[in-house]
Symmetry: C2
Subunit: 429 residues, 2 copies
């Protein structure tokens, strides 16, 4: 028996079916990757709305009309993104007028917003831009602080239809500032429970073998999902049945943590780089990188955290051997005897960067990203990763599979695992 | 009248409706961004197959069954990704057995492939892994060189259903090596025509204003789309009607090029970084970067090109002022008089990196990425970008909008525009 509790202001309902329609030929053709719908799914999920269905359709009027119409038969909330630009290929607004059988109204607030934006940018407000203030007569305006095309909120007897522009930053702004406040006012939903952890450098099949007994004992109503990418696996526990109490759910997650021990890399939906950066910041551990094959990717991932300048003076990409020698103090005879892709060079680079930038933690990479440059002895994918912490040095050798991009991501994750090891942290918070 | 020409071996058809279904709660919840379907759309598009519809559904058997069933009523080819892992939450294979009303067969070739993979990795082949060789009896195997779960090809009176794993690298491998050869053997389709160009640092609304006469004169059957991201706009011309000849299509694209002149940054679906890297490689122009606020992002984008080591010795992230002084020769009095975020410091950094690494082209950035650190005089988003080429230096000041990530992407694109300017290239090939 379900025991969800509902506290609804306006509506009482057992589940608010929500669906996303993304509009754009560029999405079907694959010229643009849709990141909006994942973001919306995550954000709405935090507030108890579950996306049941996503679909992508072309910029054709007939396709848009039939998609909205179909969606309204199966979902109470329909969120549409895309096709609201000032250019001729954007027809969503006109199509919505047709669907809701209405004309246009001019929104004075939008005009004032457009004037302010263009004044700030020191640019001329064109006739084309003013079209953004012409909205379907029956919609309410969802203010868009981040851009020129406002969101639109429609209601009919079947439910709610919301249309937003396709530019990611504008979707985020409208959703957080205008859409979610309105949705959560209308519906008050029970909390959805998810908890996740990330493992690094452990194969999905090994994990699943090891977690077989755990999974068999999981209460019905809690499910475990494996989400692998580039040498990491995210394990996500979800409460699928509201009869499971929060405390039983927490216990199940704690059992999972116990089962995996220090093989858990980090928690709370963080990615490994974020978890490392935050930890280093909290402890005031200064760091730098000396990267060859990863070309600065590791430093760039680690310096995304606001405030990182307190512990990150800078870093070096040392691609050419002469840079390794001159900037990092790698020995020429070492390069000749062992080659640039070697244990001893990785070690010297990690030590060298600590000295150069006077930091406590140094990370180095030297390897063969491919596609060419491999030999029998040193094949494409071979990489040595070094970390130096307070004078101690660990170097690890890996053979990464995949193309150049995969090589870089996998090497970065392997480096993060090595950092956690040398810092002797059990689980990153 | 349509003048498409068809040369079909097996089937004669006017349009092969193709549809993608991606399976996975993680996609609906937004924990994973679906990059597969964009890639498939692009790849199949090159061979004349057009994706009409994409949908994303959960890992529930009933949802999978009804999605396949619906898709088969409206599309001849249905491509499914996801849900083929060795873990319990992956149910696609069992569901396909149900849909096609069949049992399992063991694929000996897949077993041998699994043995080879695990031997190469020096890992133990587990019972769990062998499950991957159990396939629905009625499907044909699509070999997966890159992973353990093979693709599956089903045919019934309604058309073709293909199931592939969700791991991007495996989708690419199966599609290129097994799926496309089979599809192109079965259908021979007319060429789809797309051509695109990219502009950098020109607003979409200004472009569309400028191209109004061009668009009005475009022949019916050719459409122009605007795809903006981070200070770039991709303009894509598509032949939507086969009565348009290739030569008329080419003429229309050439007119677009002429209209925009040197405001065209690059062609051929390249992104600006790729176009710059390839150009520098082709001319043997050595380069390096000294980045503050962009943290090595620009160097990392430019060094993705295979073979880049010939012209890229390495680069520096100079976050702290003392690194700017010590490593790049920025003057202390300059930092005191003008601050780190200034025209003169950007200029000194660009010159300094050229000297340090003995390269012809140096790129520097210094700015305030935010979210904090801004003042009235130097607000968040302010950035100075310097480029130095053969001794000549240009510095440009920008105010970027958006968060830290957007700041970085926009600054990188502004830097690419400045590189094109100093190199005096009309349009990057």
């Amino acid at each position: 028996m379900h025991r969800w509790k509902y506290f609804c202001n306006t509506m009482v309902s057992t589940a608010i079916k929500t669906e996303i329609i993304t509009i754009g030929d560029e999405l079907l053709l694959g010229q643009t990757i849709d990141t909006n719908s994942a973001w919306i799914g995550k954000k709405l999920g935090e507030h108890g709305f579950t996306i049941n269905y996503k679909s992508t359709i072309s910029d054709k009027e007939s396709d848009i009309l039939s998609a909205i119409s179909l969606a309204q038969t199966r979902s109470e909330i329909v969120l549409i993104t895309g096709g609201l630009g000032p250019t001729k290929d954007d027809i969503t607004k006109h199509t919505l007028c047709k669907y809701f059988n209405c004309g246009y109204r001019t929104d004075e607030l939008v005009i004032r917003h457009l004037e302010a934006i263009f004044a700030q940018r020191g640019k001329q407000l064109l006739e084309t831009n003013l079209i953004q203030a012409e909205l379907p007569a029956v919609c309410e305006t969802l203010f868009n602080r981040a851009g020129t095309a406002p969101g639109m909120w429609f209601e009919n007897e079947q439910g709610i239809v919301v249309s937003m522009p396709g530019v990611p930053n504008e979707v985020y702004t409208i959703t957080e500032e205008s859409l979610l406040p309105r949705l959560t006012q209308k519906y008050s939903l029970p909390k959805v429970l998810h908890k996740s952890l990330v493992t690094v450098m452990i194969a999905e099949s090994l994990l699943s073998k090891r977690l077989e007994p755990y999974e068999s004992n999981l209460p019905k109503g809690i499910s475990l999902a494996y989400l692998p990418t580039f040498n990491t696996v995210k394990l996500r526990l979800t409460r699928t049945d509201a009869s499971i109490t929060e405390s039983l759910f927490d216990t199940s997650f704690n059992n999972l943590l116990q089962e995996l021990g220090s093989d858990v890399f980090c928690l709370n939906d963080q990615d490994p780089a974020q978890a490392i950066s935050k930890y280093l910041l909290s402890k005031g551990i200064t760091f730098s990188t000396a990267e060859s094959c990863t070309g600065g990717y590791i430093a760039n991932k680690l310096m995304q955290e606001p405030g990182i300048s307190a512990i990150f003076p800078g870093s070096l990409v040392a691609y050419a051997n002469e840079v390794k020698v001159r900037e990092l103090g790698v020995k020429e005879e070492d390069l000749i005897a062992n080659g640039a892709v070697s244990d001893s060079v990785a070690s010297a680079m990690a030590r060298g960067i600590c000295e150069k930038f006077n930091v406590k933690l140094g990370i180095s990479t030297t390897g063969i990203a491919g596609p060419s440059g491999g030999t029998d002895e040193k094949p494409v994918g071979l990489v040595f990763i070094g970390v130096c912490y307070n004078g101690e040095i660990i170097v690890k050798k890996h053979r990464m599979i995949g193309n150049r991009e995969q090589f870089t991501h996998r090497t970065a994750n392997a480096a993060f695992a090595l950092i956690k090891q040398i810092l002797q942290v059990e689980v990153l918070p």
